[in-house]
């Protein structure tokens, strides 16, 4: 046994610094940031830039003329009408579903939540297809509707129905966890003070959930106005009558009216940017100290 046995260790730095194991070397950091920025720049900034560049490529007057064209105006009107019907209906549904699911315990609750989430997992084209199967001429109710001269498919009601389907879960998905997290104490207190159900709902529950509610409505609206696949299937594409803005964009683009197509697209893009801004605003608001609990989560929207 040698008294001077040496023990070789792998070379290590003379001084151990905690940052060595909790942060990356500067070059790695730079590379990571650079690749992330490049990726986001190519996939997110370029499409935004191209929309506005192409829309104004032939000048402002042509841009405005494309928007004032009768078919474009009709498309804008139809889009606004559809959203004005679909969003409030789904809002009422969302509040009703959140009240029953968030404030009570009953058997089958998770099944109900899964069913409410179904429209999210269905492809937009399939969403349109199911309404054609129900209400189309060859559909289940087709003969009855034809006999009574009611047009649903290839007319405005079909477009509204398809839009309601695709925006169905938004408000409910926001409100259900919110109502659950806030518990029943405040509502029960209101009841002991003599409020009836409606007063409790409007004066206690909804004000507490106002940011989640707003968030759900914003997302729902953005999706309702931008829906393409489902509406395309049920619409019939009749210019001036059954074209929403996304469908009108498709027609213009396929006819090589690129500037006009991007002009209409720029309106929807502005709406998208507004949606993103409101989303950040609501998230910021719900993070403020003293604000009602629950921040908004990231949820899916586009069509």
């Amino acid at each position: 046994m040698a008294a001077t046995a040496t023990f070789t260790r792998p070379k290590r730095k003379a001084v151990f610094r905690a940052e060595d194991a909790t942060t990356e070397p500067r070059t790695v950091r730079g590379l990571l940031i650079g690749s992330a920025v490049l990726f986001l720049g190519i996939f997110l900034f370029l499409p935004l830039a191209v929309v506005f560049t192409a829309a104004f490529a032939k000048g402002v007057s042509l841009y405005l003329a494309s928007l004032r064209e009768p078919d474009a105006l009709a498309a804008i009107r139809l889009t606004l009408l559809t959203a004005a019907i679909a969003v409030p209906l789904n809002l009422v549904f969302g509040v009703a579903a959140a009240w029953s699911i968030g404030k009570f315990e009953f058997l089958g609750k998770s099944l109900l939540i899964t069913l409410i989430d179904l429209p999210f997992s269905v492809s937009p084209v399939v969403a349109g297809l199911i309404y054609v199967l129900c209400f189309g001429l060859q559909g289940l109710l087709g003969p009855w509707l034809a006999a009574h001269n009611i047009k649903i498919i290839f007319a405005v009601p079909g477009i509204v129905l398809a839009t309601i389907f695709v925006t169905f879960p938004f408000v409910a998905r926001e409100l259900i966890p919110l109502f659950q997290a806030q518990g029943n104490e405040e509502e029960e207190a209101a009841l002991t003070l003599g409020a009836n159900g409606w007063q409790t709902l409007f004066r206690v529950t909804l004000p507490n959930a106002k940011w989640g509610l707003l968030y759900g409505v914003i997302l729902s609206n953005a999706r309702a106005m931008g829906e393409f696949g489902a509406v395309s299937v049920v619409s019939g594409h009749i210019r001036g009558l059954t074209n929403t803005m996304p469908l009108h964009i498709e027609i213009l683009y396929n006819e090589y009216h690129f500037t006009a197509a991007f002009a209409v697209a720029s309106l929807l893009t502005l709406l998208a940017l507004l949606t993103l801004f409101l989303k950040s605003f609501v998230e910021w608001k719900s993070r403020q100290p003293g604000a009602p609990k629950e921040a908004a989560g990231g949820k899916e929207v586009a069509a």
């Binding site: 905690a18 060595d20 194991a21 909790t22 950091r29 990571l32 940031i33 992330a36 920025v37 990726f39 986001l40 190519i42 997110l44 370029l46 499409p47 191209v50 929309v51 549904f93 579903a97 029953s100 699911i101 404030k103 009570f104 009953f106 109900l112 069913l115 429209p119 997992s121 492809s123 084209v125 399939v126 297809l129 199911i130 129900c134 189309g136 060859q138 389907f165 029943n184 029960e188 009836n196 159900g197 409790t200 709902l201 953005a222 931008g226 696949g229 395309s232 299937v233 690129f258 197509a261 697209a265 929807l268 949606t275 993103l276 950040s280 990231g298 899916e300 929207v301 586009a302 069509a303």
Partner: protein
């Protein structure tokens, strides 16, 4: 004790709210969805099989599922990159990039479709460079992959970000004090917590990509057997009044969606499980933690 349907509560309005919920749900979602299956039951199994395994249908599945898989992989890698950079580093414009990540959620798919096509067409901003080296951007399967990458971009980022934000620096410091190098900390301490969330996000992106229509139909070129995605095949069959054929393919898509939904739920249970274990460890077992 008898099994009750609903626990006792003094809050009113259960019957009305649940009743309305079920009514609206059935009217808008359940009854129309069942129309798909009613229609399909009018076919024999042999007829159904014949339609869904036709050569054109198979080619569309290959494209839809294949391109979705590639796009999902791209989004997995870059999504982790972006989430890491947004949570851990500071750089100019970070807040802007962070809000912009949700753009594919907010932008209508038709707008995304025409914008991407314009960029990657042979005379487009990026397309002209690809054209010089002989690669077709738009009107090819590559175009489909690009569009689906755009569509799925936010999923992995938004599922991984909260997990990264929740991670405690103390765990990394503890590992460091035990002699771990940075790479070991990343692979042995951080990665196992991030993996379930990343997989959940990737599966969601995949599910969305498979059913995507608007962003893809402009850039793909829509040639049957080569650049035709499955949703487009359904639309084409509908336009030819082949309701039965369209419905059969739709059933295939619904089954795929259902399987993916199940996978996502299981993955969420797995990551929720991990989060509970970690929360328990952090609250009780680790001395000095708040």
């Amino acid at each position: 004790m008898t099994i009750r349907f609903k626990r006792r509560s003094i809050l009113p309005g259960f019957g009305l709210s649940l009743g309305f919920t079920l009514f609206y749900l059935s009217l808008i979602v359940l009854i129309p969805l069942s129309a798909v299956f009613v229609k399909t039951f009018s076919l024999t199994w042999h007829q159904f099989w014949h339609i869904v395994t036709a050569r054109r249908a198979l080619a569309s599945y290959r494209l839809s599922f294949g391109a979705s898989a590639i796009a999902t992989l791209i989004n997995l890698v870059f999504g982790l990159n972006v989430a890491w950079v947004l949570v851990r580093y500071q750089f100019p414009g970070k807040r802007l990039f962070d809000s912009l990540v949700d753009l594919p959620f907010a932008l209508p798919t038709a707008v995304a479709g025409i914008a991407l096509t314009t960029i990657y067409a042979p005379n487009g901003w990026i397309g002209r460079f690809l054209d010089k080296i002989g690669i077709k951007g738009a009107y090819s399967p590559l175009g489909v992959v690009i569009a689906l990458t755009f569509t799925g971009l936010p999923f992995v980022v938004r599922t991984v970000q909260p997990v990264l934000e929740d991670l405690d620096k103390e765990m990394e410091e503890a590992a460091a004090s035990l002699g771990a190098g940075r790479w070991q900390v990343v692979t042995r301490v951080l990665w196992p917590s991030v993996l379930p969330a990343a997989l959940t996000g990737a599966t969601m992106a995949f599910a969305r990509a498979v059913g995507e229509y608007g962003s893809v139909v402009f850039i793909s070129g829509n040639m049957p057997m080569r650049t035709e995605i499955t949703p487009l095949l359904i639309v084409t069959k509908l336009q030819q009044y082949d309701y039965t054929g369209a419905t059969a393919i739709a059933v295939v898509m619904l089954v795929a969606a259902f399987v993916l939904l199940l996978t996502i739920n299981l993955l969420q249970v797995w990551s929720g499980h991990r989060r509970k274990i970690r929360a328990a460890l952090e609250s009780g077992a680790v001395p000095g933690s708040s």
